[in-house]
Amino acid sequence: MKHFLLRIEPVIWLLFGQGLLIGTMLLTGWILVVGLAAPLGLVDAAALSFDRAHALASNIVGRLVLAALIVLPLWKGAHHMRHLSIDFRGADRDVVVAPVLYAVATIGSLLGILAVVRL
């Protein structure tokens, strides 16, 4: 398992890096618009109506962005929590912790992609 984890590390790290980027940039903007600007009336709430949002999300670019927004931060979170666990004196339990976290990220990714496809 240890050897396997090392072999897949480049892939995980790429997903982690992209998740970090998306998490810090896109999600922040997303929360800013939907969570702050809209309730404060800075953005016209009608612009975020279900029909418009659905149309935006269900075209091909919207679906890709949405899938990236769901999948990549999941891997970022899993990888970060794995290293957090190691930093808290968990190097020995890593052979269990890492597979569990990555399994959660995998399942979450598949469910997320499924949801995006069925939009």
Binding site: E9, P10, H83, I86, D87, A91
Partner: protein, 265 residues
């Protein structure tokens, strides 16, 4: 009267007598412009000659006087005493075995240095000056532009003071971790325009206990007294190792240094 004093709580350990390190307190008069090292030297010279500590240049170049000051790794010759309170704790660098008092064992670290092949690797001996890449000048040395030098210069400023190892949470947990300074050193040669050994080093960087063991705490760059920014080197080395891995899938290499990989892919 009125001469300011400070109390120094210093780790003492004599391997012949002590099972575990203990502390000893010294109250001494201090000057306003002293660095922490000045105070320790004063104690050694005037109060207790039995204290052992390493130091040499007193100008943040030699990298010998790294110690934990109030729990943080510091180059004591560069750390103003005035930034600290009336009680200052001085301990040997964390994450290293203690030899005696404030002196730590650095042997294991030297091996980590060698592991990243910190020298210019050439694919083969350059036959003549004219056809080498990069070109050689008439003195037989490689030509390097200021821009090419700037690529790696920051990572070459390391003085091996080991503060980054004392600060690193990964080193604290797994002593075999290659660590910030060694990775920055390897990365420095990977960025060197004269070097052709990136494949070899990227392979080392994909091994167990190297770049991917880093947990992005960034503490190494926080404590680095020379602004080497080892954390940036580690992250760039990760990216290099990932790209190297990806290209090795589509462009299989001559298996000269390849270990532990089954062929075919």
């Amino acid at each position: 009267m009125g001469e300011p004093t400070k109390t120094f709580v210093i780790t003492r350990f004599d391997p012949d007598k002590d099972e575990v390190p203990k502390t000893q307190e010294y109250e001494i008069p201090v000057e306003a412009d002293w660095k922490v090292l000045d105070a320790i030297n004063f104690i050694k010279d005037e109060v207790d000659p039995s204290i052992s500590h390493r130091w040499s240049c007193r100008m943040a170049v030699c990298g010998s006087c790294g110690m934990m000051v109030d729990g943080e790794p510091k180059l004591t010759c560069k750390t103003a005493l005035s930034d600290y309170g009336d009680r200052v704790t001085v301990e040997p660098l964390a994450n290293f075995p203690i030899v005696r008092d404030l002196v730590t064992e650095l042997e294991g670290f030297m091996e980590k240095f060698q592991r990243v092949k910190p020298w210019v690797i050439r694919a083969k001996e350059d036959a003549g000056a004219a056809d080498s890449k990069p070109p050689m000048n008439d003195k037989g040395t490689f030509v390097q532009s200021p821009a090419e030098l700037a690529e790696f210069k920051q990572f070459s400023m390391c003085i091996n003071c080991m503060l980054c190892y004392a600060a690193c949470p990964v080193v604290a947990n797994e002593a075999e971790f290659l660590g910030p300074a060694a990775i920055a050193l390897g990365h420095r040669y990977n960025l060197d325009s004269r070097d052709q050994g990136q494949d070899e080093r990227n392979e080392i960087f994909r091994d167990e206990g190297t770049v991917f063991s880093c947990s992005f705490a960034n503490e190494c760059s926080e404590v680095c007294p020379k602004n080497v920014d080892p954390a940036a080197a580690v992250n760039q080395a990760k990216f290099g190792a990932v790209i190297d891995w990806a290209t090795s899938l589509v462009l299989p290499r001559a298996s000269a240094g390849r270990r532990g990989e089954q062929g075919g892919k």
